[in-house]
Symmetry: C2
Amino acid sequence: MTLGIIGLGLIGGSMAIDLKRRGFAGTVLGVESDPVNATAAHKMGLCDELVSFEDCVLKSDMVVIAVPVGSAVRMLPRVLDIFSEEGNEGKIVIDTCSTKSQIVRVAHYHRLRGRFVATHPMAGTEYSGPWAAMPNLFDGRACIFANAEESDPDALEKVELLYDVLNMRPIYMNADNHDVHTAYVSHISHVTSFALALTVLDKEKDEKHIFDLASGGFSSTVRLAKSSSDMWVPILTQNRDNVLRVIDTYLEKMKEFRDAIAVRDESKIEDLIHQANRIKKIIR
Amino acid sequence: MTLGIIGLGLIGGSMAIDLKRRGFAGTVLGVESDPVNATAAHKMGLCDELVSFEDCVLKSDMVVIAVPVGSAVRMLPRVLDIFSEEGNEGKIVIDTCSTKSQIVRVAHYHRLRGRFVATHPMAGTEYSGPWAAMPNLFDGRACIFANAEESDPDALEKVELLYDVLNMRPIYMNADNHDVHTAYVSHISHVTSFALALTVLDKEKDEKHIFDLASGGFSSTVRLAKSSSDMWVPILTQNRDNVLRVIDTYLEKMKEFRDAIAVRDESKIEDLIHQANRIKKIIR
């Protein structure tokens, strides 16, 4: 099939690599609005051809929207509108966004809603752009299908095959629940990393000390603070209510810790650490 | 030489492996108060012989105190007292603790202060005990020498050789400065990880969701929350003032982030993320 990928960054580019070499896509058409990224992506072989947005939608059997969630929300109805043109009604479009409530909402009343499959492949690194694209990025990770019952069965089946080729575990979930759970598990860890980086950069005026003293522990905890604002500003604002709720719980836990340290209450600190240690049972 | 290692856990055990196989130590005498860990450490070959604390100090040329900082502070003066006995005055003792002000203080007025070299090899994992010991743990990492000018030149030189054999970069620092900087760079990231684990375990009652949705990002951010209370309760209480100061800055940064999200101030969120991104220049 001809696969159109809009946005040849970390996610779109990595999909292109594996879907092409694993035979899912015969041809990959790429859309990339940033000219430097577009040239690089094409030279790297992430797509067979760079095309315009309209050409991509018209010439592809399946379209992958792999741009930040703010742009994706504006783009999806335009894709479905083009699908409405004669001879295009059998096409399929998917998105790969990290928040799902809003994108599902903008498509809800579209006549061709069934041709859209809302997905969130939960894989990534803190890097972005075509240079961050890599093979095997998705292997063994989870992919959320949001509101799958609103998609046509044949469209859903083809998209399930796509993620099966990427070796992802499918998980089916309501879009609103998705946004609650990803706020808890994914979005908060980005916020805590950003705040950690801000703190260390603020307190430690001499960057040499950070460089010298950064242990593996600090590096892994602060790693997500390298993530791009293009991606995270729309996620944090679109998922505002859920993110705020989890930040507030986080602030309470942090204050509990702070107060125990302030009065040197060793048994309370020990108790909090033991509770936190329970994460060992869940995360390897 | 005969090397005595008190505490055959992650740090002591890993030192034992590399110092023995790289020829720095001919014989390793081990002291381990936990009987299960002691048997395991001996069977694994982390030491040639398990001995009592007194025997270890009397029979070794150099003694490494690799126990949590609370115990280390109580142990160091006893080691120096045994050194005072005839024929033992040329021995050397080092500690490996993550906080340095207090341990340097307890030795300050001892007649044999010069035989003590205060060090902090900045390497580790979130695991502990003899099973966590591994070869090459220290390679390429930094080792802090605290108040090195208070150690006898010959003792310092031998300990510099020890860390050179472990392939560590020496950094010389005043003990109080060490505790300020490690609070900024190392201790805070443990506290933020503990708080993150507590938050997620609190908000997400269904552990299956955490397991399913945990991406690589979450796992790396929460990794330090697996760290043991035996190690971290004494660090956080001994370095209380510095840790509190950095927690307070952290809470301010987090609130700044929270408030920007609350009012959906996209340019403020973007600005904060850009500031946080500066960590890229320092941490690979």
